[in-house]
C-alpha cells in the first residue's frame, strides 16, 4: 500500500460521503411535488459523480493497492462495466421518462433515479458500511416520500429498493460485492443484516425528521400557464386576496394557490366580526370562479359620505366599521356585503356585494369607514325561513362539466333534510367529517376536475376546495349559494384591542340565501383550520404540536394510506428503538473507552482509536484481548507488523507494572501507529478486517 493509494482511498471515501449527503438532501426535495428547483437536474449531477467515482482511476488504484491479489484485478473491471451499463441505462430511462411539468411522473422518475443511483453505488462502494448506508438513504427517502408525499405509486419502487437491500446483503454475505474478501469472511449473516438494518432505520428516522422540519415549499411556486388569468400571475400577486381583480372580472382558480405570507393587510377593531369579505363569486365553470356583473354599477365617491340603504328586511343587521389599510388592498373589505363607504379613493360596487376601488387602493395606513349588511338569525329562525326565494338562476347554476357523482352525493346528503338550514348543515358536517384540511394539499393536476378530485380522490384541500365543494353540492339540490373570499379570524394577540388580518388569513367561505333573511355566511372549512397559522406568537410546543398535526393530516387516508401510515409509524418507532439501543451500546463502549488522567500515552492514543472505531461499530469487543484485536487491525493505512508492535507496547504499558514500562521511542512509535489508524478510520478506510466477535 503506497501512501498515494492511501490518499486516494481517503479522497474516495470523502467523495462518496459527500455524494450521499447530496443524495439525501435531494431526496428530501424530491418528495415535494412542487420543488423550488428542478430536482432532477441535481439528481443527474449526482449521477455523474457516482458514475465518475465508479469508473474513475482512484477506485482502480485502491483496488490494486489494497492487497494486490489477482482476484481483485479480475473482479474489478467486471464491476466497473456493470456500473457503467447500469448508469447509462438509468440515464436513458430517466431522460425518456421526464416530462417537465408533470409532477407525478417526475416524482416517480426521481424514485427510479434514486434506485439506479443506489445500485450503481452498491457496485462502486468499497465497504459494507458504505453500501448499507446507501441502501438506507435511498429506502428511507422513498419510504418518506410514499408516506408523506401521498403518492402511493412510490410504494412499488420502495418495495424494489427493499428487495435491493436484501439482495445487496446476500451478495455481501457471499463476498461478491466487496473487493476485499477478508472484509466479509468474518461477517455472520446476523451482522450483515445488522449492518444494513441499523443504518436503514436511522436513515428512515432522520429522513422523516428532516422532512418534517423542512418548510413546505409546495405552495410557494405556482406552476401554471394561465396566461394572466391566475390570481397571482400579475403584479397583484403579492396583494393577497385583493388580487381577485376587477369586480365583474375577478377570478379564483382552484388549480392555483396564492402566497400566504405574514404581510399585514388590514387592521380593524378586535370586536369586529371575524369574517371580512372582499369579493363575491357567482359563476363556477368547473375550474375557476368568476364574479359576473349583474345589474347596474354603483359609484361611491368620497363626497357621498356614508350611504345608508333603507328598506332592508328585518333580520338584516347593518353595521359600520372602521378599518386601517396596512397593505395593498383593491377591494373594500367589510364584515358583510358593503353598502356604504367613506374613505379615500373612488369605489365602484355591484348589487352582489363586490366593491372595488377604481385605480389603486388607499395608501398604507389610510383608514376608511364601511357600512355593510350582515344577514343572520337563530338556527330555528333559519329553519323556519320562508318567503320569496332569490330568483336569479346564477345562484343555483352548476357547471355542465361537473361530475354526476357530485350531484348524487348532494342528493344523498340532503335526502333527510326537510329544510334549507338542515341541508346546509348536512353538507357542512359531511365535508368537515370526511375531508381533511390541508393548506399544503397538492394542487389537482391541470385538466382534473378539482371538485371531483377533492370530494372523491384526494380528500384533501384548503378553504377554496371546501367552500367550492359546499356551494356545488348545495346548488346541485337547488339551494342558492355563492362563494365569498376575504379574510377570517386574523390575529388579535399581537396588538391589543385590534384585529390584524394578514395575507395568510385569506379565506373562502359560503353564503347561502335564506328567504326573508338574505345571504347568511356558512363555513364548511373545519374550524380551527382557517387562520390557525395566524397567531404569530405561538409557543414552541404549539408549533411542534401543529407540525405533528399537519404531518398526520398529510398522511393519505383510505385503506392503503392507513396501511402505509401504520407501517411508517412502526418503522419510525423501530428506528427510534434501534437508535436508542445503538446509542446505549455506544455509550457503554465509550464509557469503556474513556480515558483517565493517569493513563499512559499509548493507552490514551489507543482509547482515541477505539472511540473512532466504536463509531463504526468495529471497536474491540469487550472479551477481546489486545493481541486478538491486533490481528484484526491493519489494512490500507498501517501494516500488520507495525500494529502488532504497537499493541505489544500497549500491553507493556498496561500490564507491565512499574519498572517494566516501554522505552520512549517505542511509545512514540506506538502512539503514531494508533493515530494513523484513527485517521484512516475517520476517513472510512477499512482498518479493521472482519467483525468483532460477538456473544
Amino acid at each position: 500500500m503506497t501512501p498515494q493509494a492511501a490518499e486516494l482511498a481517503r479522497q474516495n471515501a470523502r467523495a462518496t460521503r459527500i455524494a450521499f449527503m447530496v443524495a439525501g438532501a435531494c431526496g428530501e426535495f424530491a418528495v415535494q411535488p412542487l420543488a423550488p428547483f428542478p430536482v432532477w437536474l441535481a439528481m443527474l449531477a449526482l449521477f455523474v459523480v457516482v458514475a465518475l467515482a465508479a469508473v474513475g482511476q482512484p477506485f482502480a488504484a485502491v483496488a490494486d493497492g489494497t492487497d494486490g491479489t489477482n482476484r481483485n484485478r479480475r473482479v474489478w473491471p467486471v464491476r466497473q462495466l456493470v456500473a457503467v451499463v447500469v448508469i447509462a441505462l438509468a440515464g436513458a430511462e430517466a431522460l425518456t421518462q421526464l416530462r417537465p411539468g408533470d409532477v407525478q411522473s417526475e416524482g416517480r422518475t426521481l424514485a427510479l433515479l434514486m434506485l439506479f443511483v443506489q445500485f450503481a453505488h452498491a457496485l462502486a462502494s468499497r465497504t459494507r458500511r458504505e453500501t448499507a448506508l446507501g441502501c438506507g438513504v435511498v429506502v428511507a427517502t422513498l419510504a418518506v416520500a410514499a408516506v408523506f408525499g401521498g403518492d402511493v405509486t412510490l410504494i412499488a419502487p420502495m418495495a424494489l429498493a427493499l428487495a435491493g437491500v436484501a439482495v445487496t446483503a446476500a451478495l455481501l454475505q457471499r463476498g461478491v460485492l466487496l473487493e476485499s474478501a477478508t472484509a466479509v469472511s468474518a461477517g455472520s449473516p446476523a451482522s450483515v443484516v445488522r449492518a444494513c438494518v441499523a443504518p436503514l432505520a436511522s436513515a428512515l428516522a432522520i429522513g422523516a425528521l428532516i422532512f418534517l422540519a423542512l418548510p413546505d415549499t409546495s405552495g410557494l411556486r405556482v406552476r401554471s400557464s394561465l396566461g394572466g388569468s391566475g390570481r397571482l400571475s400579475g403584479p397583484a400577486a403579492d396583494r393577497g386576496v385583493s388580487g381577485v381583480g376587477a369586480v365583474g372580472a375577478g377570478t379564483l382558480d382552484l388549480n392555483a394557490r396564492g402566497a400566504l405570507s405574514d404581510a399585514p393587510v388590514l387592521e380593524v377593531d378586535a370586536s369586529a366580526p371575524r369574517y371580512w369579505q372582499g369579493a363575491v363569486f357567482a359563476d363556477f365553470d368547473g375550474r375557476s370562479w368568476r364574479s359576473s356583473r349583474q345589474g347596474g354599477l354603483l359609484l361611491w365617491t368620497p363626497d357621498d359620505g356614508m350611504l345608508r340603504p333603507a328598506g332592508a328586511p328585518a333580520p338584516v343587521r347593518f353595521r359600520t366599521d372602521h378599518a386601517t389599510v396596512l397593505g395593498g388592498v383593491d377591494v373594500v373589505l367589510a364584515p358583510g356585503a358593503p353598502t356604504g363607504y367613506a374613505g379615500p379613493g373612488t369605489v365602484v360596487s355591484d348589487p352582489d356585494g363586490n366593491a372595488r376601488f377604481v385605480g389603486d387602493g388607499p395608501d398604507r395606513n389610510a383608514g376608511y369607514d364601511v357600512a355593510s349588511v350582515l344577514a343572520g338569525a337563530s338556527d330555528d329562525a333559519l329553519r323556519a325561513a320562508a318567503g320569496a326565494d332569490v330568483d336569479d338562476p346564477r345562484w343555483t347554476a352548476v357547471p355542465s362539466v361537473m361530475a354526476p357523482r357530485v350531484r348524487a352525493l348532494a342528493v344523498q346528503l340532503t335526502a333527510s333534510a326537510s329544510n334549507r338550514f338542515d341541508a346546509v348543515a348536512a353538507v357542512e358536517d359531511y365535508l368537515k367529517a370526511t375531508e381533511t384540511y390541508d393548506i399544503n394539499s397538492p394542487l389537482p393536476r391541470r385538466g382534473d376536475d378539482p371538485i371531483d378530485d377533492f370530494l372523491f380522490v384526494s380528500h384533501r384541500g384548503f378553504c377554496e376546495q371546501f367552500a367550492t365543494a359546499a356551494v356545488m353540492l348545495l346548488r346541485s339540490v337547488g339551494v342558492p349559494a355563492r362563494l365569498v373570499t376575504g379574510y377570517a379570524f386574523g390575529d388579535t394577540t399581537s396588538r391589543p384591542g385590534e384585529r390584524i388580518f394578514r395575507q395568510r388569513d385569506a379565506h373562502a367561505w359560503v353564503q347561502v340565501y335564506y328567504p326573508g333573511v338574505g345571504w347568511v355566511a356558512s363555513d364548511a372549512t373545519p374550524s380551527g383550520a382557517a387562520g390557525a397559522a395566524s397567531s404569530g406568537a405561538a409557543s414552541v410546543r404549539e408549533r411542534i404540536a401543529g407540525a405533528l398535526r399537519a404531518a398526520w393530516k398529510r398522511i393519505p387516508h383510505g385503506r392503503v394510506g392507513a396501511f402505509v401510515a401504520v407501517a411508517a409509524a412502526f418503522a419510525i418507532g423501530a428506528a427510534l428503538v434501534l437508535l436508542a439501543g445503538r446509542g446505549l451500546a455506544r455509550r457503554r463502549q465509550r464509557a469503556r473507552a474513556t480515558g483517565r488522567p493517569d493513563d499512559g500515552p499509548v493507552l490514551a492514543a489507543y482509547l482515541r482509536l477505539e472511540r473512532a472505531l466504536a463509531a463504526q461499530e468495529r471497536a474491540r469487543a469487550p472479551g477481546e484481548t489486545f493481541g486478538e484485536f491486533a490481528r484484526r487491525l491493519g489494512g490500507l493505512a498501517v501494516g500488520a507488523g507495525e500494529v502488532a508492535r504497537a499493541m505489544r507496547c500497549l500491553e507493556q504499558e498496561c500490564y507491565g507494572g512499574r519498572g517494566r514500562q516501554p522505552a520512549p521511542a517505542e511509545v512514540a512509535a506506538a502512539v503514531a501507529v494508533f493515530d494513523r489508524l484513527r485517521a484512516a478510520a475517520r476517513d472510512d478506510v477499512p482498518v479493521v478486517v472482519g467483525n468483532a466477535p460477538r456473544r
Partner: protein
C-alpha cells in the same frame, strides 16, 4: 497484614530484582525454554501448541495430564519432555493390579542389618511419567495424590521428601475405553494442565511413520536442561509480574465458570492460582517479564477445563472424566468476560 499491604509486598517482590538483571535473566530463561521446546519438537511433530503448554506446566511447577485415544503420541510427548529435562526419569505403567507400594516404595527386610529399610519406589524421580493413569485403581491413584500435592511420600508413618524439581506428566485414555477407572475430581484438580492432543495431519503422520520405522526416536533425546536449571526457571516464573488488571481478569474467568449454567462445580481457587502460574510461565516462554490477558486466555481452557464438573445431564454419561466439555465451557466463558485495560 491487610490485603493492600500484602499486594504492595507482592509488587515489591516483583520489583526487587534490578532492571538489568531482570532483562538478562529473562533472556536466559527464554533461551532455556526455547531450547526445551525445540528439543521436544525434534521428536514430537505437529504439536507445537501442546508442547508449549506442557513446557508451561513444567515451568510453572505444576503437573500435566495428557488425554487422548491410545496411540496418539501422548506417551511420546510426555516421554520427550521428561527426557529433555535431565535428572532422574521414571515411568509407572498403571494397571488394575498396581499397588500403592509399587508407586511409593515400601519397607523391605534387610537380612544383613536385621531391620526393615525403606526402598524408594519409582515416584522418587525428578520427572515421573505415569502412563494410562486411569487404568490404576482408585487406591493406587490416591497414592499419587499426596506426592503430587506435597512433594512428599509417607510410608509406614515416615515422611520421605521427593526430589526437587518433581514433575508428573500423566496420560489418560478416554474413559469409555474398557478397563478404566475415572479419575476422582480431587485428583484431576491436582493437575495444573489437562490437555488433549487431537489427530495429526497426514503430512505430519507420514513423517512420524518414516522416523518410527527406523527406531523409536524418543530414546535418542538428550537432556537440555539440568534439574538445577529447571529449579531456577521455576523461580524465574514466580518473579514474572502480574498486573492487578490481569489478576482481576483471571479471577473473573474463574468466577464465570462457576456461574455457567451447565456447570455443577466450577474452577477452584487452586485452579485460579495454577492458571496464573502457568500464565507466568507462558509469559516467560514468550520472553516477557509480565503477564498479559492473552496468556490467561491461551491457558485457561487447558488449565481449567479438566477441573470443571458438569451439571447432571449436560454432557451425557460418557463425559465423566472427559475434559472436552469443560474446555468448551471455558472457551464460552472467555468470549464473554471483558478484558480489563487497567485495574
Amino acid at each position: 497484614m491487610d490485603s493492600q499491604a500484602q499486594l504492595a509486598l507482592v509488587d515489591d517482590t516483583f520489583d526487587s530484582v534490578p532492571d538489568g538483571y531482570a532483562t538478562e535473566s529473562r533472556s536466559l530463561a527464554e533461551d532455556a525454554a526455547t531450547r526445551l521446546i525445540s528439543n521436544v519438537e525434534q521428536v514430537v511433530h505437529g504439536r507445537r501448541a501442546a508442547v508449549e503448554l506442557v513446557v508451561a506446566g513444567l515451568l510453572s511447577g505444576g503437573h500435566v495430564l495428557v488425554q487422548d485415544v491410545p496411540g496418539s503420541g501422548k506417551t511420546t510427548l510426555a516421554h520427550a519432555v521428561a527426557r529433555s529435562v535431565g535428572g532422574d526419569f521414571r515411568r509407572i505403567q498403571c494397571t488394575a493390579d498396581l499397588l500403592p507400594g509399587d508407586v511409593t516404595g515400601s519397607a523391605m527386610w534387610n537380612p544383613s542389618k536385621q531391620e526393615f529399610t525403606f526402598v524408594p519406589g519409582p515416584i522418587f524421580a525428578n520427572v515421573l511419567l505415569v502412563d494410562e493413569l486411569n487404568r490404576a485403581t482408585p487406591r493406587a491413584q490416591s497414592a499419587l495424590l499426596e506426592a503430587m500435592d506435597e512433594a512428599t511420600v509417607t510410608v509406614d508413618g515416615v515422611r520421605h521428601d521427593l526430589p526437587n524439581p518433581f514433575f508428573v506428566v500423566a496420560t489418560q485414555n478416554p474413559t469409555d475405553q474398557y478397563g478404566t477407572y475415572p479419575l476422582p475430581e480431587g485428583q484431576l484438580d491436582r493437575f495444573a494442565l489437562g490437555l488433549s492432543l487431537g489427530p495429526n495431519d497426514r503430512a505430519t503422520e507420514r513423517r512420524v511413520m518414516r522416523e518410527q520405522l527406523i527406531r523409536a526416536t524418543v530414546n535418542d533425546l538428550q537432556p537440555v536442561l539440568a534439574p538445577e536449571e529447571l529449579r531456577w526457571l521455576q523461580l524465574e516464573v514466580r518473579r514474572t509480574y502480574v498486573a492487578d488488571a490481569v489478576l482481576d481478569f483471571c479471577l473473573s474467568v474463574v468466577a464465570a465458570t462457576r456461574e455457567h449454567p451447565d456447570v455443577r462445580v466450577g474452577a477452584s481457587s487452586r485452579a485460579a492460582l495454577s492458571l496464573l502460574r502457568c500464565a507466568q510461565a507462558r509469559a516467560l516462554v514468550a520472553g516477557r517479564n509480565y503477564v498479559v490477558p492473552d496468556d490467561i486466555k491461551l491457558l485457561a481452557p487447558t488449565a481449567l477445563g479438566h477441573r470443571i464438573v458438569l451439571a447432571p445431564g449436560v454432557a451425557g454419561p460418557v463425559a465423566m472424566g472427559s475434559t472436552s466439555a469443560g474446555v468448551s465451557i471455558v472457551r464460552d466463558v472467555l468470549a464473554s468476560v471483558p478484558v480489563p485495560l487497567r485495574s
